[in-house]
């Protein structure tokens, strides 16, 4: 930055007016160009610096050579010029500060926040399903993960040589061989034993939703895991019908996946229900038009259900009698329905999880996505 030193040819008023007007204009022009910070200081030094300042140099030169009568006028003009430059400088300083308050922040930088932990997708999905049934008057039932053959199979009408009882399918506790079959301990393969436990404890009417962890002797792959989660439901009363089962699940699926969802029921087979059904919902991704997720069928298979098999009530009655309780599940009067769904599968579908193993890995890169 430099300002030309104007030439002062004589000390008359007109010439002084011209020269000082020129200096003021130069200073103002330079002040407009200032960019704050160091440039302010450079500007100050250039004009007002004690040794090299232009004002100091000019006043020293001109006052020395000026005729005496011109000196007061010259002095007044120098003071005025100095005041003007100072005010320019002050103005620039203020602008600079105001500017730094606005532009000194990069508001696009990421904000700082304490990291909050994420809900596990299985826990979250399970809670959502349970919540739907709780709002329909279902109480939550829980049971042990290590069960006896009686609760897991026998009372649920599995015949003695049913393949599910095989150690190829079921994880069993060591050292059970000497016990009677019904007392042998195993990892429950479904949450259905809680149905039996509840009916032994309580007389009808009964509405239960049963979330829990279950195990099977499955080799792990993208869709199978030896550990997985289920939510089951049980509704027992007089006058409980298959159409009630249909209506209840239709309502629950709408509550879970949106009111546009449709359900349809297919015959199926489970030892502990009859009639038994598989339930499909209209594809939640394409609305039933057909897409990759529903294998272009428009439908997604989601749960198994059925009317409680009378043999289950009979097993409950027999056990109740053994325990000195009244056999109140009269199969000619009492009926009920049960249903069950895989929480893992629903979570995987809902969140687009390709590998079930991720749910049990504790991998933070995966889990954090649910925060």
């Amino acid at each position: 930055m430099s300002a030309a030193i104007p030439e002062l040819r004589q000390f008359d008023e007109a010439e002084l007016d011209r020269v000082f007007a020129r200096l003021e204009a130069d200073a103002a022009a330079q002040a407009r160009m200032l960019t704050g910070g160091e440039s302010l200081e450079a500007f100050r030094l250039q004009w007002l610096g004690r040794k090299q300042g232009l004002l100091g140099q000019l006043s020293a030169a001109w006052l020395k050579s000026a005729p005496t009568e011109a000196k007061p006028s010259l002095g007044v003009r120098f003071n005025r010029l100095k005041a003007q430059i100072e005010s320019l400088l002050e103005e620039s300083r203020q602008q600079d500060q105001a500017g730094s308050q606005a532009s000194g922040l990069d508001v696009t930088l990421p904000g700082a926040a304490p990291r909050v932990g994420a809900e596990h997708p299985l826990v979250k999905t399970m809670a959502e399903i349970v919540g739907v049934f709780q709002r329909m008057g279902y109480s939550v039932g829980l049971g042990p993960e290590v069960e006896t053959d009686f609760y897991n199979f026998e009372a649920l009408n599995f015949p003695p040589n049913h393949p599910a009882r095989d150690t190829q399918d079921t994880l069993v506790i060591a050292g059970q061989e000497r016990k009677p079959l019904r007392e042998r301990l195993l990892m429950r393969t479904h949450t259905s034993p809680v149905q039996i436990r509840s009916m032994l404890e309580q007389a009808p009417p009964l509405r239960l939703v049963i979330p829990g962890k279950v195990h099977r002797n499955d080799a792990a792959d993208a869709t199978h895991s030896p550990v997985f989660h289920q939510v089951e439901g049980l509704c027992v009363d007089t006058q409980i019908t298959f159409s009630d089962l249909k209506g209840t699940l239709d309502h629950a699926m709408k509550a879970l996946f949106g009111s546009a969802v449709k359900t349809r029921f297919f015959p199926s087979f489970f030892p502990f229900t009859e009639p038994s059904a598989d339930v499909q919902i209209s594809c939640i991704f394409c609305g039933g038009k057909g897409c990759r997720k529903c294998k272009h069928s428009g439908w997604i298979e989601l749960l198994g259900c059925g009317m409680v098999d009378p043999a289950v009530f009979e097993a409950v009655n027999q056990r109740r009698s053994e325990l000195g309780r009244e056999p109140v599940y009269d199969t000619r009067k009492i009926s009920g329905f049960a249903f069950g769904m895989g929480v893992d599968r629903i979570a995987m579908m809902k969140y687009g999880i390709g590998d079930i193993g991720l749910l049990y890995s504790g991998d933070l890169r995966f889990l954090e996505q649910f925060a």
Binding site: V140, L171, G175, N217, K246, H251, S361, G362, L364
Partner: protein, 717 residues
């Protein structure tokens, strides 16, 4: 199993729907068509998925029966289509059933003078469309009959049979070479079709090698029989042979189909290979087994029970009503049931011989629903007069999860199983309700998963390692789940909780050394978590000590946590051995918590302390203490200990709070000598009733200084 619609339609020429619609209607009735492909013989090839209880429908006639029921069509019963040209000069082939408990029916018929070549005509065409390999015409015929009507049959080379047929239990150690070339040693539980000298075939499972039909065969014996399901199942398992025949017999074949199947096979063999039928069909029956199968007593069906179970229909006619009696009767008749009306809405139902899965009234109710179509029933919601029970621990579990998430811990779900070594190292009876021992699996998934987890801590260590090995270096996880203790005789389950933390602890501030910050962060999380429960509320109820740490914690780098004198948790840095075994290079803090103990406790109910209107006064104290003087000692000296009723010292009536602000140790030993530390302590005095006077604050300050000096502290100026 595959079905050709052309074959199917040969039974139902008036089928009113196309193949696409037929597939859908069958699927909605539980006869599931999983895939549809154009068939080379014309029509469609269905890939079927039929539940194992419906073996009767795993053939073309069986599917035709279902279709006839759906559309109300007439289906010709399975019966000899045309009389056989029979040479009646010979007698029937001698057949004797010795094992009358295992073989209910045996039919046999001779064909003489066959010339065996490849199959032709319909059989060849259908086989090509199904991709079924042709073998020799008589064998193809038995396969064709199997796919047509679902009854297994067998053809013997008649000339290899010595004497007559004897159906008997095998003699232990007897040897038999089977059609697949394998040589089996039989046991006394195996059922064989034998002649007077030797076993010919493993009954209901596979024919024998020596009596098989070859190109050289001139005379044939056709067998169609009924065998006991349990006997065939155990034979098939014992010898590791799962065949079409064993599949059907295991699940119950049609007792009455044996003569029909024999007739069909005989007719087709003659058609394909020529020859003459000799003698009548020999049909030996065991009445006791007939009574258990084809001639089961009728069962009672009440239409009111059908309606009680199925509820309302959504049909346009009679919508909102139960299913009509005539519809019930129509559906059951279509399936082959024989109905006798006993009274208004009450029937005696004779069950078809091919439906051994039907035994009870509920089975018939299911059939009615199935044939009618599940989706033709209404959607109704039942009324409910019961009570809703609250889950006892739901609020506590929710509070644990919510608190930990707010503290930055993400929930994880880990394996239920640990290795025997981990069970040994991490098991802790004190944290398992006093139950000793761990539980071994009988058929573990792997050697590393041989035990039920006695604690969530080892699983947490595994999950921390999983992350660190994938370059995720800052991890905060928790797991809430079942832990197991006891023995294989009796397993006790409890709710366990684990915390895991590694990497970048929030800056230690002025209190903690950087290398200690992670431990104190986890300690803070534990205090916050336990503080949610009511029993941690009274002062001194929660305490920490460093004694008796388990081996998995690095000595001097962990703590035990006591709640009112009960151990509720241990936590600390994983030991050097643990880190090494898991190939970890940075400190990991793991906590194992007995969540079950917490569940017994109510959640803290906040009770508000009235805010003081008067000014608080802060006073800082700078002291030098020997390392042996713990914060707990200082706190007790100034505030009283839990043992003394946790009341603030009487001398200082209005000490509101006391906390360490800064701790400094000098590694060079210059500013602070080795073996001691400097502590900046801040006391806040505040009264609820009045402004504190300079004088009393001065006297309290003096008192504090005196107490700290008494503890061995040196005041720094």
């Amino acid at each position: 199993m595959n079905i050709l619609t052309q074959w199917l339609r040969s039974y139902l020429p008036r089928l009113p729907v196309d193949d696409r619609r037929l597939a859908e209607d069958l699927t909605l009735r539980g006869i599931a068509v999983e895939g549809e492909f154009p068939a080379s013989c014309g029509g469609t090839l269905y890939e079927m998925d039929i539940t194992t209880n419906r073996v009767d429908a795993m053939n073309h006639y069986g599917v035709a029966r279902e279709a006839a029921a759906i559309y109300g069509l007439h289906l010709e019963p399975l019966a000899p289509a045309a009389p056989l040209v029979e040479n009646r000069t010979g007698a029937g082939f001698p057949v004797r059933i010795e094992a009358e408990d295992l073989c209910g029916r045996f039919t046999a018929r001779m064909i003489r003078g066959v010339r065996i070549g490849p199959s032709t005509g319909t059989i060849a065409r259908y086989f090509a469309a199904l991709g079924q390999k042709q073998i020799l015409a008589p064998v193809d015929v038995t396969n064709f009959a199997w796919m047509d009507m679902g009854h297994p049959t067998h053809v013997f080379d008649l000339d290899k049979i010595e004497g007559g047929i004897v159906v008997r239990r095998a003699r232990a150690g007897e040897r038999l070479r089977l059609l697949d070339g394998s040589e089996k040693t039989l046991t006394g539980d195996d059922l064989v079709v034998a002649d007077e000298e030797k076993p010919l075939a493993l009954a209901g499972v596979m024919g024998g090698w020596d009596s098989r039909v070859t190109e050289a065969t001139r005379n044939i014996l056709v067998e169609a029989a009924w065998f006991d399901p349990a006997a065939i199942r155990s034979s098939s398992r014992r010898h590791g042979l799962h065949t079409d025949a064993s599949h059907r017999f295991e699940r119950g074949a049609d007792f009455n189909a044996a003569p029909l199947a024999n007739h069909l096979v005989t007719r087709l063999v003659v058609e394909q290979s020529g020859g003459e039928v000799e003698g009548p069909l020999v049909d030996v029956k065991v009445p006791a087994l007939a009574a258990r199968t084809a001639e089961r007593p009728a069962i009672r069906l009440e239409v009111s029970q059908v309606r009680r179970i199925l509820g309302k229909t959504a049909d346009e006619e009679g919508a909102g009503q139960g299913i009509a009696e005539e519809i019930v009767a129509r559906h059951l008749k279509a399936l082959g049931c024989d109905l006798t009306r006993q009274a208004e809405g009450e029937y005696a139902v004779k069950l078809p011989s091919w439906r051994l899965d039907l035994e009870r009234e509920i089975d018939l109710i299911e059939e009615v629903a199935r044939v009618h179509g599940y989706n033709r029933f209404a959607n109704t919601l039942p009324a409910f007069q019961g009570t809703v029970r609250e889950l006892a621990h739901a609020a506590q579990e929710a509070a644990i999860r919510q608190t930990l998430r707010a503290l930055g811990y993400t929930e994880a779900v880990g394996s239920t199983f640990v290795s025997a070594e981990e069970a040994e190292t991490f098991g802790c009876a004190e944290l398992a309700g006093g139950v000793e021992g761990a539980v071994a699996m009988g058929n573990p998934l792997s050697a590393e998963a041989g035990m039920l987890r006695p604690s969530l801590a080892p699983g947490m260590a595994t999950m921390l390692a999983h992350n660190l090995h994938r370059d995720v270096s800052v991890v905060r996880l928790f797991e809430l789940g079942t832990v197991f203790a006891g023995s294989t005789a009796e397993v006790k389950e409890r709710l366990g909780l684990a915390l895991g933390a590694t990497g970048a602890a929030k800056a230690g501030g002025s209190l903690y050394r950087p290398e200690d910050a992670l431990f104190y962060e986890v300690k803070g999380a534990m205090e916050t978590l336990l503080g949610k429960f009511s029993s941690a509320q009274s002062a001194g109820s929660l305490s920490f000590d460093a004694a008796g740490l388990p081996d998995w914690i690095e000595p001097g780098r962990g703590a035990r946590v006591w709640l009112n004198g009960e151990l509720v948790a241990v936590f600390g840095e994983l030991s050097a051995a643990q880190l090494q075994a898991r190939k970890l290079r940075q400190p990991c803090v793991v906590a194992g918590i007995d969540a079950q103990r917490l569940l017994a406790d109510a959640l803290r109910q906040p009770v508000v302390t009235e805010l003081s209107r008067f000014q608080a006064v802060e006073r800082d104290f700078s002291f030098l203490f020997p390392d042996a003087v713990t914060w707990a000692a200082i706190e007790t000296a100034l505030q009283g200990s839990a043992a003394q009723g946790a009341s603030p010292a009487k001398e200082v009536s209005d000490l509101r709070s006391l906390r360490p602000v800064e701790i400094f140790r000098d590694p060079s030993g210059k500013a602070v000598p080795f073996g001691s530390y400097s502590l900046l302590l801040r006391a806040v005095f505040q009264s609820k009733e009045r402004t504190l006077a300079e004088q009393e604050i001065a006297s309290w300050t003096e008192w504090v200084v005196a107490r700290l000096k008494a503890l061995g502290g040196a005041q720094r100026v």
